[in-house]
């Protein structure tokens, strides 16, 4: 397959030596005592406090915490776009020191380029990377089909609803077949029904592509529904208060949220938030 070959070449061009990298049970993303401070002097702001964790390749990790606690910062540190103050982050054994490009990012805002049509918005990734765009067109169309937008490829973003726009943004984050997907409250701005639908869609996409996902949310139900693990984060400076393994069968349907097993996780997390004083009874 031409596209696949092209991607392999690109992987090499990126200097990512994927051969010889561990199997599934070894750490893929590794945080070692990571801290982040903003600013200097009296205005210094402590955002992330000594976070350590290991994520396996293909694992879906929900990062759950109150607004403004620094969980987004923590996740953005993975991209290398934000510099960490102390500690060490590695992805596939490679230390993150500059912007790491083998990842896809989905923000709370879809950040589509209004001046590009839907297809052009997805293809912006290979274009920016200087890859041959035509090699990726079929894959872009396949991804749009995966999220039910194949008929909208030639539309402008302003013609789309909020949920559709965010779907395009997810396609854009996957077009270059990255190993890592960072999602920073991607569904926070959507209505509840659209959000449910996108949770289902995301689960399906993830099961087909098996990216390693760091998914930031402040919805307890969303975190449990999507995650293999849920990191419950404390208030700023944030740290992982509890790392909960979610042992629910996949694919999960929406009604799983009414099962006693699911509710048990919800209660467990609520209890942690109550104890921290983030929730008050």
């Amino acid at each position: 397959m031409q596209t696949h070959q092209a991607m392999q070449k690109n992987v090499q061009r990126l200097g990512m030596r994927l051969e010889g990298i561990s199997g599934d049970d070894q750490a893929f993303i590794n945080f070692e005592n990571v801290s982040k401070w903003y600013g200097t002097g009296a205005n210094r702001l402590h955002a992330v406090d000594n976070v350590s964790f290991e994520a396996k390749r293909g694992e879906f990790i929900s990062v759950l915490g109150p607004s403004g606690c620094g969980k987004s910062t923590m996740v953005m540190l993975t991209s290398g776009l934000e510099k960490l103050t102390s500690g060490r982050i590695t992805i596939a054994g490679q230390k993150i020191a500059k912007p790491y490009t083998d990842l896809g990012i989905v923000f709370q805002q879809d950040l589509l380029m209004d001046w590009r049509r839907v297809l052009g918005n997805v293809l912006v990734q290979p274009e920016f990377r200087g890859w041959k765009v035509t090699d990726y067109e079929q894959r872009a169309r396949d991804l749009l089909q995966l999220v039910g937008l194949e008929k909208f490829a030639d539309r402008y973003p302003h013609e789309l609803s909020g949920g559709m726009r965010q779907r395009v943004s997810i396609c854009r984050s996957l077009i270059h077949d990255p190993e890592v997907l960072l999602m920073d409250e991607p569904f926070g701005a959507l209505d509840a029904l659209t959000r449910d639908q996108l949770n289902l869609d995301l689960q399906r996409i993830w099961q087909e592509n098996k990216k390693t996902v760091l998914f930031v949310t402040h919805s307890i139900a969303e975190a449990i529904f999507l995650g293999d693990r849920v990191f419950v984060m404390g208030p700023r400076p944030t740290k992982i208060v509890e790392d909960i393994k979610i042992d629910l069968p996949r694919p999960r349907k929406l009604d799983i949220r009414e099962t006693p097993e699911f509710m048990a996780y919800v209660h467990q997390i609520m209890a942690i938030f109550l104890k921290m004083g983030i929730l008050k009874s």
Binding site: L103, I105, F107, L111, V124, P157
Partner: protein, 275 residues
């Protein structure tokens, strides 16, 4: 519903609606016509001397009779306006880019820029004439001086309006700062740049005419001053009409270019339409 009823509906309802739509769409035209009629009646009724206020009919007659004089003086003014405008675009946009990317440059450039706008253009126009003579050059620079300001201001606003996440996205895709600028920042700013251009083109008209008032041997501004010197008030009004038609036409041209180049932006969509 029978075909007959349908037919009656087609014939009756649309007619009154048609009238209504015509009235609604032509409100501004209607206002102009009413004003002209009132003007004409006022001048005739009070027998106002023509050198004070000529009737619209007289102005129209002058416009037709003296058309060749107006046409003769049109090209220099057009050149001054367009050249001044293009100059303000060519200098204004890069200036805005420098201001956005360098706080040092901003602190140097902003105060003199604002000061340049505080000085009345009529006051410095004679200086430009002294420096550059009676040709086109001083008018072009006056037009530039007045037109570049909105372009710089709007471009700065546009370049700064980019979402910080968009910049992060650009860098995560491996884009260097030039690529991020060209493919993300500049397109984001385009709607603002066009807004600035629309203000600038009308100001360039003002600048060119101002320059011609102060000292020139041709152009519509020159024609106006010489006509008023000879108490030829109808010609003054005729030239005034010509100038405003030019200004409107140039504005429409910019709007057309805007529609073609940024069809995705709300300013290019039909007004009052959905979304």
């Amino acid at each position: 519903m029978t075909v007959g009823v349908q037919h009656v509906n087609d014939a009756q309802v649309p007619f009154s609606r048609f009238l209504w739509i015509v009235l609604e769409k032509s409100r501004s035209v209607l206002l102009v016509i009413l004003t002209l009629v009132a003007w004409e009646a006022f001048v005739r009724f009070f027998d106002v001397p023509v050198f004070l206020l000529p009737a619209p009919s007289v102005i129209g007659q002058t416009f037709l009779n003296d058309w060749h004089v107006i046409a003769l003086n049109l090209p220099p003014t057009m050149i001054e306006i367009v050249a001044g405008f293009i100059l303000s675009l060519v200098i204004g946009v890069p200036l805005a880019i420098i201001i956005v990317y360098s706080p040092t440059a901003e602190s140097f450039l902003y105060p003199p820029m604002v000061a340049s706008q505080a000085i009345p253009k009529v006051a410095i126009a004679p200086l430009f004439i002294v420096w550059m003579g009676y040709g086109l050059a001083p008018k072009i620079w006056i037009a530039f001086l007045i037109a570049f300001f909105p372009i710089v201001i709007d471009t700065v606003v546009g370049l700064r309006s980019i979402h910080p996440g968009m910049l992060q996205l650009g860098r995560s895709m491996g884009g260097g700062s030039f690529k991020v600028f060209l493919k993300l920042r500049l397109p984001t700013a385009l709607p603002n740049i066009f807004a600035g251009m629309k203000v600038a083109i009308t100001l360039a008209v003002v600048g060119a005419i101002t320059g011609e008032f102060v000292g020139s041997q041709s152009g519509l501004g020159y024609l106006m001053t010489s006509a008023s010197g000879q108490m030829d008030t109808p010609l003054v009004f005729a030239v005034l009409v010509a100038i405003s038609v030019i200004a409107m036409a140039l504005f429409v041209v910019i709007e057309l270019i805007e529609r073609i180049s940024i069809p995705w932006h709300s300013s290019s969509r039909t007004r009052g339409g959905g979304h």
